[in-house]
């Protein structure tokens, strides 16, 4: 998408129009009665979004979800990066752990949640553990991959100039793996939110997911939609912020590739 450039203002107008069209379609579908009657109309959803925005219950639930998601994510990021750098830079460890890592990355950790609940109870701590266990793998896999791809000329340079191991770890291994680490951390951020909400949907842990389930059970569909809308906004904002940050951090990488 390079050639034709539309003016930003026109583009914005077009995008707003597209969203309006989408809402119009929703309105038509509801009006036509083709779907179950409990689905709320456009105006009800908009009103509910406004109501949720000023309700303390909403912000409390959002806070709980975010706290669990971010804590689990942060734990996973630290553990995953350190372990990944060590595994990726030591050939023997890399080969030894490959099956376990492949198993872990394809394990739907949510299936383990009932087990974790048995051990820890249905609370925020359990939620953080499940989120961390889920987020660990994308970070770990990407970091291992990044650490493994050492440029031969760089390794030679490090050896010839006798760079001590710790300095090498910090100034060579870490930065050269950083593009991959960043991708892993970014992927796992959306995993964190997905898993946190998933845990709340199927357990008693408080948060947005739980709220959506409760609203649905109480047949307050407009509120359920409003909450769904906000989870999307939060996910979007998180992804956008991380992408910004990543672009900043990795200027050298993009320049180099040009």
């Amino acid at each position: 998408m390079k050639e034709t450039t539309t003016s930003p203002r026109l583009l914005l107008a077009q995008r707003v129009a597209a969203i309006l069209i989408l809402l119009g379609i929703w309105w038509l579908v509801i009006a036509s009665g083709a779907v179950p009657s409990m689905l709320p109309g456009v105006s009800q959803i908009l009103a509910a979004i406004g109501k949720a925005f000023v309700s303390a219950a909403f912000w409390g639930a959002l806070g709980k979800t975010l706290l669990a998601a971010l804590s689990g994510w942060a734990i996973a990021a630290v553990v995953g990066v350190v372990a990944g750098l060590v595994i990726g830079s030591i050939n023997f460890l890399d080969r030894s752990t490959s099956i376990l890592v492949d198993f872990g990355r394809s394990f739907p950790v949510l299936a383990l949640m009932p087990v974790v609940i048995m051990l820890l109870g249905s609370n925020a701590r359990m939620e953080i553990v499940v989120v961390a266990l889920s987020c660990l793998w994308p970070v770990l896999v990407q970091t291992v991959y990044g650490a493994r791809r050492q440029e031969a000329a760089v390794s030679d340079t490090v050896a010839v100039f006798r760079i001590p191991p710790l300095l090498r770890f910090r100034r060579v291994l870490l930065p050269s793996a950083l593009p991959f680490i960043a991708t892993g951390v970014r992927i796992s951020a959306s995993v964190a939110l997905l898993i946190a909400v998933g845990v709340e949907v199927i357990s008693q842990a408080p948060g947005i997911g739980r709220q959506i389930t409760l609203m649905q059970q109480e047949q307050r569909w407009d509120m359920a939609f409003a909450y769904l809308f906000f989870t999307g906004m939060v996910g979007w904002a998180m992804a956008a912020v991380l992408q910004r940050f990543e672009n900043r951090l990795l200027i050298w990488k993009r320049q180099e590739n040009d």
Binding site: D102, F180, A239
Partner: protein, 275 residues
């Protein structure tokens, strides 16, 4: 539309084989499996000594697993779950690839709907489970629909990126030789975008499995997720562990199969080293 590109690393099995002249096959197998055995042995030994009611011995877990595999309880559940997963994934792939090719080729439309796609991509898909099941009921269809909806977005975004990433020289070639539009689509754009499309499906797969588990744990009377949840609700602890372990193994097998298929399908891509 690059902001959500999933440039995840290739999975391990899809890597080029190590340079020849390394250790022989036997040594290599030993090197990559010994830790698995150590972990299993450690689990066996430590869980055998466990006095915690909620940590059954590995022996017990495996016994239960073999029993329920034998009497068909698990098999029925697994078939139910996998059917949901595959139908959902298939629908998502068909829609995602179709619309992705369209949006990738029609730049102005893509730019306009970009925020909408990103919004839907960002909704934590598990939140859809109570909504869709609440509206459409407990049947198999709504579960498939939820999985399809969750998997659609990564496939769609990756397809669009794949189409946008087709080498301009290759495009020009099509123009210069006046390749008809349909042929150009089928024989140029689709294959060139295929690696990225497959990558999108690879990203969608674990999301689909997760949503599958959530949908069955949320409300179901069948499936692997139900087996796990039901076992834990009735305090059948070894069964709970066995179910979780099995879902893990199934997930592992599916992703390994996927990687194998991917390698076959994209042989030219890996062989040409264009990654």
């Amino acid at each position: 539309m690059t902001s959500a590109t999933l440039t995840a690393a290739q999975p391990r099995a899809a890597r080029k084989v190590r340079r020849a002249g390394g250790p022989n096959t036997g040594t290599r197998i030993l090197q990559s499996t010994w830790l698995v055995f150590v972990v299993l042995a450690a689990w066996w030994v430590f869980s055998a000594r466990s006095t915690n009611f909620f940590i059954p011995s590995l022996e017990q877990i495996l016994t239960v697993l073999v029993r329920d595999l034998g009497n068909g309880v698990i098999m029925a559940g697994a078939l139910y779950s996998l059917a949901n997963l595959f139908v959902g994934l298939l629908v998502a792939a068909a829609l995602g690839i179709g619309f992705g090719l369209l949006l990738g080729e029609v730049g102005w439309l893509c730019r306009i709907v970009d925020p909408i796609i990103h919004f839907f991509r960002s909704v934590p898909q598990a939140a859809l489970v109570p909504m869709i099941i609440g509206v459409f009921g407990l049947g198999q269809g709504p579960k498939m629909g939820t999985i399809a909806f969750a998997c659609l977005w990564p496939i769609l975004l990756n397809t669009i990126d794949g189409v946008l990433g087709v080498e301009p020289t290759i495009r020009k070639f099509s123009k210069v030789y006046r390749i008809p539009r349909g042929l150009h689509f089928r024989k140029v754009v689709l294959p060139a975008a295929l690696p990225q499309i497959v990558a999108g499906v690879r990203v969608a797969l674990p999301i689909g499995i997760t949503v599958m588990v959530v949908s069955e744990m949320f409300a179901s009377t069948e499936g692997l997720g139900f087996y796990i949840l039901n076992s834990s609700a009735t305090f059948q602890v070894p069964e709970t562990w066995a179910g979780a372990l099995l879902v893990g193994v199934v997930g592992y097998i599916i992703s390994m199969l996927f990687i194998l298929a991917e390698r076959r399908m994209l042989r030219w891509y890996y062989a040409s080293g264009s990654q």
